[in-house]
Subunit: 339 residues, 2 copies
Amino acid sequence: MKTNLTISDIAKLANVSKATVSFVLNNKEGVSEKTRQRVLSVIEQVDYKPTMNSRRLSYQKSFTIAVVFDKMTAALNNLFYFDIMNSLLKRCSFYNYALVHYEFELVDGQISLPENILNKDVDGLIFLKDIPLELIAKLTQLDIPFVVADDHSEHRSLHTVKVDYRLAAYTAVQYLISKGHRHIGFIGNMNLPAFYTQVFSGYQKALREANLPLEPSWCYEKIQDRPSTEKYISRLLQTDKLPTAFFCMEDLLAIELIRYLQKCELKVPDDISVISIDDIILSNMIYPSLTTVSLNKEKIGESAVDILMALIQNREAPNVIITSNEIIVRESVKDLNLL
Amino acid sequence: MKTNLTISDIAKLANVSKATVSFVLNNKEGVSEKTRQRVLSVIEQVDYKPTMNSRRLSYQKSFTIAVVFDKMTAALNNLFYFDIMNSLLKRCSFYNYALVHYEFELVDGQISLPENILNKDVDGLIFLKDIPLELIAKLTQLDIPFVVADDHSEHRSLHTVKVDYRLAAYTAVQYLISKGHRHIGFIGNMNLPAFYTQVFSGYQKALREANLPLEPSWCYEKIQDRPSTEKYISRLLQTDKLPTAFFCMEDLLAIELIRYLQKCELKVPDDISVISIDDIILSNMIYPSLTTVSLNKEKIGESAVDILMALIQNREAPNVIITSNEIIVRESVKDLNLL
DNA sequence: TTGAAAGCGCTAACAG
DNA sequence: CTGTTAGCGCTTTCAA
């Protein structure tokens, strides 16, 4: 078990000072080509790797950023962020930053954060989905840079990566219309009011442009989980007045909807079509597979890291909005034009 | 923007030396109760948090461990490890360790690892699922502790958390039998030969004990993805000789199977029952929801971290085997006894 | 172009 | 019980 080499060892071996080695390591100028080569070759020969921890101490930076989840968020919701996380990971390693995972919690209006964040043991934070005001306050007070990805809030001073959900909704509904649907329901919830508003307004816009009426009994914004889905659908089935298609705020809702429709012996898409937004990994695994509007999750993650890096380096960091209008055509929408 | 307080500041404020403050911080003895209190109260008053990076340098440890994924592994597979990852996260924070994420890659027999691992910038590694021999060699050479969770290999010298898949398979098939099934197919693949062997042997054992024959045409071990599933099932349908139930090696396969059966207008579980192993989050979201044997993923993650911490601290670290025989009864298995 | 030396914040012998 | 001091490995200023 050989003890690790340090910069002094390299200096000795190359017959230079530690400073020179350091310059070479960091590609700084002020070193003659000859010595640089000599130093490099020593480094190469002994396979020397500088110790991050020393560097961290010197720079007073940790070279790591954290994704921080809401402890309360169901695993299910995290699922949606799976692809984004992969993209975060990639982008971090591009910057030679480590990506760590943490959770925060809001109890009785009190934010609790892991020690390593309070410590400032991370250079910055990334949140997925809107965060509570209390958290914003706390972070501002801590003076630690952060960005919120997939944020829906109107908070002006936040650094965010937003998705144009209005466009996504509009795209989805317009697709239904193009397939001959005239009776289109809306299913969602108001957990994130701003999200709801955007999506609903995209839905409305598409209907309006096609001169289609908005039928209130087909719009239900209280769908959260299995029970609420079942309640709504079973009630709707009693009225015997069904839309030909449902637009859902997000894939998870659509998947639950399809599940229950099937349970009620309704065929998707033969009896009723379903479309939504997200394109989570699940969407392609159920039957019928879900037609949906894909969000560029790769881009969301990438942008979040880019913004955060800019903040860390005190550069300009304009917010970004991801526009999404790519329909992933699968099996859950019927083409009524073919009839 | 006040500059951060250091241990010297605290020492000054409390009228003691840095050493004393350090002792207090680390709950070491050799400090009178009076001074300890005084120091603590100063720390509290100014809300002092020691800097991890200094500590890291002193200890020559990073206080972080990494989960390392195979870059080639489809996101789908990662899905299975979602719950485990959450559990890793929890357990790490219990130990006050940070959890970072990395990827490794095997190209042309060459292992490539992120700089921060080669650096020894992590105290240890956790892998989910079997890792290539090349990687084992590389890690041994690097002399960095690691544990493989959900390992199936026979590698004697590895530190692992294994799952008793034979028991799980046995449990699943036995459940089918208890529900009156006599004609039970097996669906799997040999991507991980040891995994296949274990599961298949559990399947066999259950059949044997019930004096049920093993019908080769119902056993198919080449199912990987959508195409192979479709190929097998469509061929089987032509023979008109179907089992009443299928046992699948893992949920993902079962979900794909159900998807295709439905596509072929076969009803699950009315026409054919399906059971498997894993209980991934998806299993409850499809229709019909999947009856499966749950693995204690919480425990898997926890044990992996525990073992790794032991290794890091040079303590004994016995491998652990998670036994799993808990059936999660949902909708995909029909009770033939009721007929 | 290079080297010496101080410093980053904490730990841990050692001495008192 | 407490303080002094020498590191930990790297960066960076200043002088040569």
